[in-house]
Symmetry: C2
Subunit: 224 residues, 2 copies
Amino acid sequence: MDSMIRQFYEIPGKVVALQPGEYLFHEGDHAKYFYFVRSGQIFITKFAESGRVLSLRLATRGSIIGELPLYEEVPVYIFNAIAQSPSEVYAIEFSTLHSWLEKKPSLAINLLKIIGMHMRKQHSKFRDLVLYGKKGAIYSTLIRFANSYGQEVDGGILITVPLTNQELANYSATARESLNRMLSDLRRQNVIDIRDGLIFIRDIDFLKQEIQCENCGREICNIE
Amino acid sequence: MDSMIRQFYEIPGKVVALQPGEYLFHEGDHAKYFYFVRSGQIFITKFAESGRVLSLRLATRGSIIGELPLYEEVPVYIFNAIAQSPSEVYAIEFSTLHSWLEKKPSLAINLLKIIGMHMRKQHSKFRDLVLYGKKGAIYSTLIRFANSYGQEVDGGILITVPLTNQELANYSATARESLNRMLSDLRRQNVIDIRDGLIFIRDIDFLKQEIQCENCGREICNIE
DNA sequence: TTAGCCGTGTGACTATTATCACTTACACTT
DNA sequence: AAGTGTAAGTGATAATAGTCACACGGCTAA
């Protein structure tokens, strides 16, 4: 992915630094910039009227953010972007990006590739959720976090991002209690474990099998 | 949308005619062509191992199909495309499309716009489903069909596509019986009606309100 | 004209998931 | 060391959705 975004650095823009918890933008804000992440992690979320939070991505180095309103008549962000850790993003104005895309076909093609990949991610998530219910949503979230932020140790995968049960629940649109019970079950079945507050996946194949994983690869099946 | 795809007609390709029920491609097939629909309607579906069918779109004149494997290393269709009515599609080889995209930036930009729109559609569907459960999925499907195939009559909207309960259920990943009960409830509440086997929506605002519709517009909230 | 098929409708039951209310565990402050 | 706050864990119950079984009606082909 890194090779694909390298080209975007040539486009004039500015660097924005964010502290943990700081918003890059809110949903409903007028959208002026297209971003990609240089360092750190950024939560992409959406609020429901009921007060629930739906988490969609955890963007990291190389991820693009705010691409959705790119060619909208009235460009408005439809998600929130909040720094999880100290982060830096590169901000390019839509108008600047537009003119560069017109001049450089290879840039447009790269963006097509990136957005196409996003489509695939979104579809595979949709599939997991819709066909296998909350179990599908939760197992799929674990697999995606493992693919994006997992570190292989002791024959398992340690998810190196600290996440509360509530945060994990937000990724699968599940009640915290339901998520908690599922994690407890998985722990009892020796599929996962908690190590210093981080999730350690002993048997990722079990998770994949349960949701009939199509093994779409780490390029697609991730949370970035 | 039609204006956006006009440009694609300049690219050499071939016309493929389909009879109702005929497959344009199956999921898992090696993907060679990018299509757009000239006439008729095409179901886009996905099969689950359990035998269930998940319906995603009903493509019509101006819709693009098979765009997902565009820049994949091993291009494979991930959905099925089946004609619902006698249809004609225009087929462009990926390799041909690639070279045209490189030569014509405006073509790449148009494709970006179209795919960006698809992303928005997908996100809004995801939201409806995830935040409002099956009710969200079903009401949202009705609204989308109304936006794509609705005809205003008698102060309501008639969905001009004949759909069985099973077909509608496939769009919302719901059991036929559950869908049936929900439709019955809506009928009792005078929100919808059945006219000669077609769904007639009396009170679309009720449906929109129940799923906290963000009024994203017909360009986004449709089933194409 | 009638048997067969298909789609609809519905009751009874089961499974899944959410909600509420509370206890426990742990880190951090004072 | 006690007090406070936050997250985790859990039981009981309610709400939502799926499954199974079957009745009914309309259409069609023999």
